[in-house]
Symmetry: D3
Subunit: 340 residues, 6 copies
């Protein structure tokens, strides 16, 4: 790997409580737990690619916070830029789906979490900005509350002021914004897009959140029409994303795209068996960021990012676990025998 | 849901002892246990649809009977019409199949179970009949012994005398009837069919058990020819059932049919991945009964019942776990993403 | 058992998430979950003794609420007086202690739970009062917030108006009341004590919460002096409680007392090995209530309650699981061989 | 070890289904299974001491019988003298006790097991007698039914006719003989005692089963008075047994005795922590047999047997797992540090 | 089954340490262990078919060796020809693959294992040869070191001298031979081929190891051209093997072939879902050997062997677990319903 | 905590493979794994006390090395001074003892591990010495081989040259040094003792390894006589250690001592229940080092170290998990109730 870069991700750490196998919460009596979040996933993936991955977050100072910290270090993240305080960690319960029965996520109360109640002086924006070369943010964080959005904005601005790079993943979640969510979200998204260099976004974000319009009905045609306009309107260097198709039998397809310097690059659509779908979008984002940080050709970057996402569907947990070598092999060799 | 109805199911409770994962009994050293049976499955499914689900059965008065009672309550069943006595619970061991290797069921001794040794005064037929609007019986119970058949018949007659409805699932199991089983079974089946309003049955039951004849060789043609004759001969209002096709890769197809008032209704065949096949027939039966109790259109009833059966294949354990809302969604949306 | 009585317990349901074995949250990766709470424990214990046990609570209408409801039914509770609504269930994480290392409980945010956010019209006090003969309340509930205290008070008054009985367990938890907690708590405790017939309390509650004074320094002497005064001041028929001593090696001792009609009864102190300490106080309370409902001699009641508490320390989970027969045997036979 | 001897044990194989940890059947949802029985335990222990251990039994020819056979081979038993046939294996469920809460065994139906329904020509007595030097029988088998008793007697006689040795463990279980059991049992016990060379028995067996009388009230005095009379009346070379005391905190004491050639030998009483109590009596019996087969001094034999029993209480499962070396070490070194 | 034959397999026993489910070693914290190896798998499969299966190997004399011995007996193997000595057992760690992510095997140090350090007098070649009718060897053993190769050769020669049969599975593993492996391996392979009667081999072995040449590019054409030459050059009676194709979604295809008496027999290609791929080649080999020992028609032998291999992919662990009856059914009935 | 100090520990990382519960390797089929070693344990404990804990070691560059690295980071260790290379990790299997049955450790081959085969240029001694304030070594490492001893010596000398401190734990393991071990070990121990500032050692080390003599027979008297001589002979500032007594019922006692500036300090003997004995000595050592680094009074240091050791016996795994606050509490409060 050519460049070892210092990357920091800003975001909430969630405790994932998963029913093992295919039982429901009302059938089982045990749960597997792990700690994740968009920032965790992107930071850990980039650390696995050889970069330094910081997490900027706030963890409670109790045994759950200790467990989170231990597991985040296990994933390869540095917590030197993280702080402790508050009382709670956000949690979600996951019941795995099977075939015709979709999986189900149930959230516990998030608004009182240590991250979402961080006081205004919780983070030292200047020190964080000085410690890294790229900062990653995500639309889920943007949906939380004004205090959190304030941290995001001030941190992003401190970073830009120092000449660092900003990556932003739109990640719009209707459930978090509630009714009339698109119009509530728009001004906040626009602030972030204006600061961002690399953005994960697709035509639906542009139409629904940003209010852009098109006569096209085909997703790909909409994309091709709207993307250059969005890049130009907000001054974004790189926009990337995927179209996902869900088949029966736990199979999905992904079609990846990347727009840079006026040129679209596509990765051929791949169809694959899915073991754990959550966090695959973060694997894609980390692949795009790694490609950009490593100065790969755009078409190679998007193919790398799709392969990273495909592998993330085959691994247990939210957080991508594949190294650069495994992803490079998966770009060419779809189905290998046991490696022994 | 329009009508909340009191439904009672008469049947044996079995302890299911399942080898976890895909090991054989001679490889593993642990078992998962649960409690099921046709009556359990149908009653619990109807309770989940919002009806009151009683189980009429007999459980031993020991720690195994206590465990059964606790787990049946957990499934939503009322045990107010169940009795305690005798010493044993029927058990079966299940080794899961995988692909080309079929699953395997091994029974322990059932004839000495509390249910199958219930004395003649074990149940208060009149009180049971007075407590519910519909009674469900099954051909597996019919195969047990004369004492059990006596309970079935007297209970069904008490119910008819009060004007209540009878549902009967033919559920012919060759292993239980032994050699020459069809002719042994015929008179008992005919007694039940004459009392029943809603019957789960297909053309094979009509040909083999009831001795009906046809020149047709195609299953669907046989069905279309024989069904009206059977309905008319025994005075049955509704006959429903499925044709199952087993593919490789743990995939099955189901084609559902319902005959009522001289008209056939069909649900389009569905192909789906199978996680736990046992009890899916009971999910279908409970869907048919729910449709009838809720005055659905016949075609909607059979589509609802097939969707209930499809979902039951995706859930761990014998007993259906899907609510009405999940089944309605599964009728239209075959493969959804994680619900979060 | 002579009298089958209808008992309702009012209280919050908590999800208990326990690290299996003796690992810490930062070592393990799985949790066992169950559903408990003082009301759950007392109601389930009384149902196991043959009474009808209702739980008056509010559960979220989501998969976690469904799981709670299924498991509460499994414990033998009736949910006919419970309501659904709100979004969250209170949770606590439990790390088991071993010898010199004490166990540790970490709470998630409880104030936003379905129970603690129940609107003013959530419960039908009159219908609840009409459905039961005795209502149980607990000091933990009293510590939650004004809305919950309002429900408690109005429900208790409706019950008294109908001539029903009230049991109240003081259960003072310093962590819930915070700094200056005793004086905050006093007026609320006094309101409940004036309505209560059976109270679980000891000399520390009288001194610290109620502000009673004594020159004695020995716990037993304090108790003997203060108890009659408290009973008289608040018009309480029965006061009962225990003194607990904690030895090394996971052994505890309990000394039980009961004051009624001016007379103290004591159960001889018992020393025993502890497997799961949580919920043992609720087992004691349910033993006292059962003794009173069954018109036992006071000394027999307190010995029964202590034996129930001793057995509750030997059972997994918060909720007592022993029947009347097992407790009667444990009153005489301290250490038996395997029963086979 | 001096002598490698061929030992066969005649007895039923049971499937033990144990709730893991300290949960009850109505709390848990999984079971650990293993295969045991007095014959299994004694034969396996002797195989572990270096002898050849045959099991003479009958196993069903189905997946449960296959699992039993595999696990019996794993324990070191030879099945060359065992037969296959019948349909069922006897089972028992075990809930572990803790401290004041005793463990609980619940049997499934045993009378229909393959062993207990073995037809009269199931075993080739002559071939079995020719294949071994010592045959072991047990009073539990004697309690089953006439057919099984017939097999026992004919096999024992064939063995005596060839000059082989017979060991018999009285093992009287009240629950198996039912009311009036002692007088039902007496003639059968007397037949076996007259054939036996080595007998496991204590003063209670002599008083209750054999109807011997004594004025003494102390157990040890009763033993000393009655033992010589019993040995003489039935012509028994060696009688051995233990007195067990059960303390709190899962601790037991064992006092071992052996009577041979008119001389009593005792092993000093030992007190020890108990992990799994079932099968410890079989470990003692196998120690006595091994001592006799190895021509140890009687006092060394009984000390070896007690140490074997003590270790058997510390091992998971019914079947003793300690080798001769471990037992010799446990005879002298009560509590060692980790061996590394 | 017509002929019960005594078969011995010579080879190393490995401890397989498998991460359960689909986690990686750096995610999980528990492992499932079992004991396998080519000789174990072939010997156990033949024992399951009704033959006597000896394993000729060397196990350490410590708790790991004891565990290995117990588990090998459980698989049905006789250890009468095995020896104990040395200190270590070879181990390998297995992380399961899923879909696009291949499984991964990591070996511990094998060269110091008890088997690979067996001294020159470890085995009694004459006694082994006298105890069995067929001896099985494998190319993995051949790759270990000179001492092991010496044992192989002397044992095979002792067997031939007595007129017994030799089976040899080429099983070339590039990782074991290292760089320039083919030429290192050639002389050793040629020695074994000259002694062997039944050989598992395909065209790649002939081209790469034996240096045979062909103008054909299609695998099947290469096979058809080279096989007769190899059989003739080394005097081999039967050569058999498979061509494997790996599809996505954990599906593989196998095409089986057998060459005997100048005639090729083929089994139709089969496509099937894969649960546990390791050891399937040994199931094929054992099917070929069983067919030969049972004098089946060659075409039936190869179809039996392929069905055995297909089933071995559906069973947990390295070692085939299917009996003759199950394989015969799988030859005709590809996908059955639960057997109950 | 006053001083945050940079501590590095030099030592091998072992994979601990533990049979869960109390089964033997020949009974169980699963293992729990973790990564430990004296250096791991001491470094992690010191990191938990707030210091920076580096591990100087060599890990294989394969999935097992990755898993080790992830878990070491999880424990709080920095791997910035660790290197990757070689192929294997040392392993040991642990079977837990119970009461009279001692636990058992079985090692896999350690001499070929990455650590024990580190080439002469594997570590940058100067850089390591420059990165930390105190270096920890252990007698187990000293027992490995000449190459490892060479690394130890050169690293310790580089540290002394820079004025850093050296801690050395004698930790003599007879099994590693083999026959005549004491005289083999003596020169190597003396080299380390001459470089060390803080030494963990007791009178047995002095007598057996160092050849010191005394007429006393009581351990404590021997200690008092020999310790000052040893401190003076090798120029050691602080010598500390414990005397351990093993009782039945998994209880141990520890008596701690510390010699500094000519003065002995003792911690009162403590008796406590033991859950996991391995690694407790490392907890003691880390307590001594922390006390010295924090300038505690010697008597407080040794009491802190004993309390740390006591708690380490109550925690799962080799590695101490208690923070400074928990240890301070355990110094005064022997047995607390659940903390909630």
């Amino acid at each position: 790997m050519a460049n070892r870069v210092r990357v920091a991700a800003f975001g909430e750490v969630m405790m994932r409580l998963q029913v093992p196998g295919y039982e429901l919460l009302s059938q089982a009596d045990s749960l597997r737990y792990s700690f994740s979040g968009t920032g965790v996933n992107v930071g850990a993936a980039l650390a696995r690619f050889g970069h330094v991955g910081f997490l900027v977050t706030r963890l409670p100072d109790n045994p759950i916070g200790d467990a989170a910290a231990a597991n985040l270090r296990k994933l390869g993240l540095s917590l030197n830029l993280a702080v402790r305080g508050g009382q709670y960690l956000g949690m979600y319960f996951l019941e795995n789906g099977f075939g015709a029965r979709p999986g189900r996520v149930t959230y516990s109360n998030r608004q009182e979490s240590s991250f979402n109640t961080a006081p205004s002086d919780a983070y030292d924006y200047e020190a964080i900005a000085a410690s890294c070369d790229l900062l990653h943010f995500c639309g889920i964080t943007l949906a939380m509350n004004d205090a959190v959005r304030g941290h995001m904005l001030r941190l992003a601005k401190a970073m830009k002021a120092r000449g660092g790079k900003i990556a932003f993943d739109c990640n719009y979640r209707p459930a978090h914004w509630g009714e009339g969510g698109y119009s509530k979200a728009k001004p906040h998204y626009e602030q972030m897009l204006e600061l961002a260099d690399i953005v994960m976004m697709n035509e639906r974000d542009m139409i629904h959140i940003l209010g852009m319009t098109t006569d096209k009905t085909d997703r790909l045609e909409q994309l091709t029409e709207l993307m250059p306009a969005a890049a130009s309107r907000y001054g974004i260097s790189v926009i990337a994303g995927t179209h996902r198709t869900i088949h029966g039998d736990n199979k999905h397809s992904l079609h990846g795209f990347l727009y840079k310097d006026g040129i679209f690059s596509f990765a051929e659509p791949r169809t694959f068996a899915v073991y754990d779908r959550i966090g695959a979008g973060d694997a894609f984002a980390s692949g795009i960021i790694h490609g950009e940080l490593s100065d790969l050709e755009p078409e190679r970057t998007v193919r790398f990012a799709v392969a990273a996402a495909v592998l993330a569907h085959t691994v247990s947990g939210d957080t991508p676990m594949s190294g650069e070598g495994e992803i490079l092999r998966a770009m060419t060799d779809a189905n290998g025998d046991v490696i022994r």
